[in-house]
């Protein structure tokens, strides 16, 4: 089919197309004036060839041309009494099942057609047609299989239909028998077929290069069709989440659904999203953690609870951050952070085994060993190891500590880091800062970092032996935090004091930031600290009724899936990530 023919088609009223939209469509077809540059009726191939012509106007008009041709085919199908958008299809097998059942079929061998009639359905992803023979590759959820279409096997004019009306991208159902071709390709020898859904747009070739990244995320389904391994990431993600549930439920944890919309957003330090409830006439915050409500359940008498759920933080977007992300938080009464370390190992290793069947995996070219036990080391020791600074000898003099730190880290330290060290408001903050700058990136193999300073751990219980520290750990793999856990702070007075301090510090920063920009109203919105932090008084009251000693752990599921699917960006594991508005 060539461009001339396209022109002649599109100038006719597309009567049977669809009741109401005919005129609009004609206009759309006619407006695609640049179609002459695309001589291909075999649209996808054309699309592939033109891939390098990446200016959007060209590809848009290409698409419009293909769309017009295919709409014509829709009409043609209707005129033949066929429905281009079918209502269903009875499948007997998936592609993979067939590959498996018939793996012993020799080259050139055919199963008995009367006995082994099969029926499959899927998307056509490749197509080669010769005189009286056509080969189509059909892909379904499980894999691919070839459709072997011989003119004489098909009834009436079905073969001609197949050649003229089926495009790459169409969803097709086919019946037939099984045969392995001489070249060794297992095929369904098609007796009859039906177009179940006529696709209107051409499929791209495999996407490559940075220019397409944005489109990959915006039209994830195209990415999934073009790159089957992308769809696989989401299949693996489903497996990981299901494995986590299985694991924690086998330990007797019960899932609780806590609210997303809250009167006060607590449980972490982050800018929350704000929304407004019309009939209540009040602002509500989207949760930034599930922690405070899950702890209420412990107060209510549950001893092992968890929630897998969405968390929202009104923060920047990066390869590790999406404004909404998924975590599991779990709490166990009458246990401490030691037991949560074991639980974390259990969860991560079981997930790795479920996805890979082994505990050694490749992440972006680095071999990661998940065999237990994982290294457990205190933050103090790790910092000493990485910098030579012995923080517990520095005492509480912040100024001295800063001097020692800067001297130790040397003059070639990045200016950015120097100023963040200068900005530290306590020795605890300083220790953490040094840890983040120097140690974190080096923690490639799974490592539990223990005993964080109290200043940066407002919800963790003071360490039973070391003053100034808390019973807290974070799990690092590949230089990234994967999990965060502590023996939970159960003392309501201590908790109130620490949260009030957090609010006070936040308000101070906020006030400072506001005065810095000289009260310029319009700029205030953009500042990092411009949001309000409020105390969750109901939570503190709940603690006053008595919460059993407990440990709790939060694990970022997106990051775990990144690790287990060797994905570089969080956007590769979130099906529909938040993106900037397109210009």
């Amino acid at each position: 089919m060539d461009a001339v023919r396209l022109w002649s088609l599109s100038s006719q009223p597309l009567k049977h197309l669809i009741r109401t939209t005919t005129t609009r469509l004609v206009i759309r077809c006619c407006s695609s004036t640049t179609t002459a540059t695309n001589p291909g009726g075999r649209a996808p191939k054309a699309g592939g060839r033109n891939r390098r012509l990446s200016t959007s106007s060209t590809s848009t008009s290409d698409r419009d041309a293909v769309r017009a041709i295919r709409l014509k085919k829709v009409e043609e199908l209707r005129s033949k009494g066929l429905e281009p958008y079918g209502y269903g299809w009875e499948r007997t097998h998936s592609a993979n099942q067939l590959q498996d059942i018939y793996k012993h079929l020799g080259n050139g061998e055919e199963s008995k057609p009367d006995k082994d009639g099969v029926s499959i359905a899927g998307r056509i992803v490749a197509r080669r047609a010769f005189g009286k023979l056509a080969f189509l590759t059909l892909r379904d959820d499980s894999g691919t299989i070839q459709l072997y279409c011989e003119k004489e096997r098909l009834a009436d004019d079905q073969f001609d239909q197949l050649k003229s009306l089926v495009d790459i991208g169409d969803i097709v159902g086919a019946n037939g028998s099984i045969k392995r071709t001489e070249k060794g390709e297992l095929s369904v020898c098609v007796n009859s077929f039906a177009i179940l859904t006529k696709s209107l747009l051409p499929l791209p070739d495999k996407y490559h290069g940075l220019t397409d990244v944005d489109k990959r995320y915006r039209q994830r389904y195209v990415d999934m069709i073009a790159n089957p391994e992308v769809a696989d990431v989401f299949r693996k993600r489903a497996k990981v989440v299901s494995e986590i549930r299985k694991t924690v439920e086998s330990f007797g944890f019960i899932e609780v659904e806590t609210p997303v919309l809250q009167g006060a957003a607590g449980g972490a330090e982050a800018r929350p999203f704000v929304t407004y409830h019309n009939s209540l006439g009040r602002d509500l915050y989207l949760r930034i953690a599930t922690e405070l409500h899950l702890k209420r359940m412990l107060v209510g008498g549950f001893e092992k609870v968890y929630e897998i759920g969405r968390i929202f933080r009104n923060e920047g977007i990066s390869t590790r951050h999406n404004p909404e992300f998924t975590t599991i938080e779990m709490y166990e009464a009458y246990s401490d952070y030691e037991s949560m370390m074991n639980m974390t190992e259990e969860i991560v290793t079981r997930c790795a085994l479920a996805v890979h069947g082994k505990l050694t995996l490749d992440y972006q070219g680095v071999e990661i060993h998940l065999e237990r036990p994982w290294r457990r080391e205190t933050m103090h020791n790790l910092v000493k190891e990485g910098t030579g600074i012995t923080f517990n000898e520095l005492g509480n003099d912040l100024q001295v500590a800063k001097e020692v730190t800067l001297k130790n880290l040397g003059a070639d330290l990045d200016y950015k880091y120097k100023s963040s060290i200068e900005a530290c408001s306590s020795v605890g903050h300083l220790l953490n800062e040094v840890f983040e700058i120097i140690v974190e990136p080096k923690l490639v193999q799974p490592t539990f970092v223990l005993d964080y300073p109290i200043e940066i751990s407002p919800l963790a219980k003071p360490h039973r032996r070391h003053v100034g520290l808390t019973e807290r750990f974070e799990l690092f793999v590949c230089g990234r935090e994967l999990a965060n856990a502590f023996s939970e702070l159960t003392d309501p007075m201590d908790q109130r004091g620490r949260l009030e301090e957090q609010v006070r510090q936040h308000n101070e920063k906020r006030a400072a930031a506001i005065s810095e920009i000289g009260g310029a109203e319009d700029k205030r919105e953009e500042n990092d600290e411009s949001y309000e932090v409020t105390l969750d008084d109901d939570f503190l009251t709940a603690l006053e009724y008595g919460m059993p000693p407990a440990s709790g752990m939060g694990l970022g599921i997106d990051r775990l899936v990144m690790l287990l699917t060797n994905s570089a960006s969080i956007r590769d594991v979130i099906a529909f990530p938040v993106l900037k508005i397109q210009q």
Binding site: I18, E83, Y85, Y87, G88, W89, A121, R123, D140, S199, L203, Y221, V222, M224, I225, V230, A231, F234, R235, A238, V241, S242, I254, E255, V256, E257, V260, F273, Y276, S279, L280, L284, M297, V299, G300, G301, E303, G309, F312, N314, I317, P323, Y334, S335, R464, E471, T490, D491, D494, E525, D537, D538, Y545, G546, M547, P548, P549, I574, A575, K580
Partner: protein, 619 residues
């Protein structure tokens, strides 16, 4: 309530007294019995949260009535001090007391068994025995003290609760590892609600009560507020435990003030024995069943975004929020439908998502701004198949959770008898327009519904039957009212209403043989919609047209009509296989199976009005 609460516990005490030999124990029991006989009403739950400034008239009256009842002390020797009547004083005294302790919130706790396991093991081991002690066995238990009594300075009894079970602690100075004065100090300051850890040996008291005889006794977390009293009947009648599908009545709970129950759910969970089962466990069993059901049919669980640039997939007013760094207006999803279908386009043929949806609408008995749904989509299936799947899922779930297909539900309110709802498959099916025309004697022609005449005919029909339709009177809304009035009323047992007109169903595929209709079903139970499903509309041209029609309704003032989602339409152009999809309201399902007429009963932390505003309860 005063009359009914006493019996079993009192009888137990009387039985104990008849068995007891030691005079001090007899006198303790006697005083306890007489105190119980005199005063049985539980006191008002303490309000430790910020004071409620305004109260609705009825609830204020109830409060006034309840505050007249004084707090009852828990044992004779334990004399109620003034602070027991004054929550603020009580709280201060507790703070003062814990200030004298070295570490009122210790790190270490040790638990060798759950209370349930303990009771089960030693009830079995010490069957029909009395006054036996297994002194060479050591067990550690932890839980909450729900009742305490003392028989002199050297001997204390507690009811330890946790894990929905209860066991008695017997703490005597002679068994204890503490010196006497320390022992007395600790024990005379134990309050109801304290979380404690006890290590000791198992045994049975003279009356055959399974107990743990404490060697060490540590308060892990003191309760600083007065705990509402538990109605003893509720914990003694263990055989009458509530289960899914059975009727219940929150009016009979020890703690029944709704404001307290929903705002301080932790108290509700501790005090009212059914609540853990209802709010958390039944919901968890339901989602567990759904997941297993769908997983076993090769459905994959996926996650689609809650924050979107448009809110599509349903007709409802969305919540709006703002992303600072991107300076972008975002909507919270009202349905995951459009994204799930995109994943089917992408090649995942069977998907489901169990998750929260958000609708910026009023709060009432059946609506919370956030609610949970399960949506599932299957490629190459149509609505007939999805109806069968839904039928199989729901009837199977009811069977598994309740043991049968029939449940009891207070459809007509708590003051009426519960009715029986029968989930035995197959469910009844009603053809919407056919049935409406028959019952209401109308002549609706589905092919004409987009016309002005049809709209005015429906207005006439509504008027004729006295059916109110608040403006805008769009054809869709008028039809909806008629269906509500004539058809949904019949749907007490699960009933599918099927084949909705196109005008009501912008995302459903046109019916293969009946023009003007779609292949859609809604499942109604107890007159409420529980599921909604259809053969998915996968023709992008028709989909765009449907969105355009919705736009017409928006322009006529229906701001709940669906906006055009260009991204979704584009996805359809790449080809969505023939697909069937269903959405199920999980909260509604929880309500049915827990006999809850208020959605707040089944949501652990429902959205509540701000406390400093007058509560205008929805009627």
């Amino acid at each position: 309530m005063a009359g009914e609460e006493s019996t079993p516990y009192l009888e137990e005490l009387r039985h104990l007294r008849s068995m007891a030999k030691h005079p001090s124990i007899i006198s303790l029991l006697s005083s306890e019995i007489s105190s119980l006989e005199k005063d049985q009403s539980p006191p008002l739950p303490p309000q430790s949260s910020p004071p409620r400034l305004t109260q609705e008239a009825t609830s204020a009256a109830e409060k006034a009535k309840q505050t007249n009842v004084t707090a009852r002390s828990c044992g004779k020797k334990y004399v109620a001090s003034e602070d027991e009547k004054d929550p603020t004083k009580y709280y201060e005294n507790r703070l003062n007391y814990i200030a004298t302790l070295k570490n009122p919130y210790p790190h270490e706790s040790s638990v060798s068994k759950s209370i349930t396991e303990y009771v089960k093991e030693y009830e079995g081991l010490l069957k029909d025995q009395q006054g036996v002690h297994l002194e060479n066995v050591t067990e550690s238990l932890a839980g909450m003290v729900m009742k305490q009594r003392s028989s002199g300075p050297g001997c204390f009894f507690y009811d330890l609760c946790g894990d929905r079970a209860r066991v008695q602690i017997y703490a005597s100075a002679s068994n204890s590892d503490m010196d006497k004065s320390e022992f007395v100090k600790i024990h005379s300051n134990v309050k109801r609600g304290d979380i404690v850890n006890v290590t000791g040996f198992p045994g049975k008291t003279m009356s055959g009560q399974i107990s743990i005889f404490a060697r060490s006794f540590v308060v892990l977390a003191p309760c600083l507020h007065m705990m509402p009293t538990v109605n003893p009947k509720k914990i003694t009648e263990e055989t009458e435990e509530w289960g899914p599908g059975r009727p219940r009545n929150p009016e009979t709970y020890s703690l029944k003030d709704q404001e307290t129950r929903y705002r301080q759910r932790h108290l509700d969970l501790r005090i009212n024995p059914d609540v853990q089962r209802i709010v958390v466990e039944t919901r968890s069993e339901i989602t567990f069943y759904i997941r297993r059901f769908l997983h076993s049919r090769q459905f994959r669980e996926v996650e689609t975004p809650i924050l979107n640039t448009t809110a599509g997939g349903a007709t409802a007013r969305p919540f709006m929020t703002h992303h600072n760094e991107l300076d972008m207006q975002l909507y919270m999803r009202i349905a995951p439908e459009l994204y799930l279908k995109q994943l089917v386009v992408g090649g995942i043929e069977r998907v489901f998502e169990i998750g929260k949806q958000f609708r910026n609408e009023g709060i009432d008995l059946t609506h919370n701004p956030e609610f949970a749904t399960c949506e599932f989509y299957q490629a190459y299936a149509d609505y007939n198949h999805m109806m069968e799947l839904t039928e199989e899922m729901l009837s199977g779930m009811v069977k598994e959770l309740t043991g049968g297909y029939k449940i009891m539900y207070h459809s007509n309110g708590l003051d009426k008898d519960p009715i029986e709802i029968d989930f035995t498959p197959p469910f009844r099916r009603i053809d919407m327009i056919e049935e409406l025309n028959k019952i209401a004697n109308l002549e609706i022609n589905p092919e004409d519904l987009f016309s002005e005449e049809a709209n005015s005919d429906l207005k006439v029909a509504c008027k004729k039957y006295g059916i109110q339709c608040p403006p805008p009177e769009t054809t869709t809304r008028l039809l909806d009212k008629l269906v509500d009035h004539f058809l949904e009323e019949q749907c007490v047992n699960p009933t599918f209403i099927i084949n909705h007109p196109e005008i009501m169903s912008p995302l459903a595929k046109w019916h293969r043989s009946r023009p003007g209709l779609t292949e859609r079903f809604e499942l109604f139970v107890s007159k409420h919609e529980l599921c909604n499903g259809y053969t998915e509309l996968n023709n992008p041209i028709v989909q765009r047209q449907r969105f355009a029609n919705q736009l017409k309704d928006r322009q006529s003032g229906d701001d709940e009509a669906m906006p055009l989602d260009e991204g979704f339409c584009r996805a359809l152009e790449y080809g969505l296989p023939p697909t069937g999809g269903v959405g199920i309201g999980i909260d509604r399902l929880c309500m049915l199976l827990t006999d809850s007429v208020n959605i707040k009963e089944v949501i652990p932390f429902p959205t509540m009005k701000p406390q400093d505003q007058p509560s205008a309860r929805p009627s």
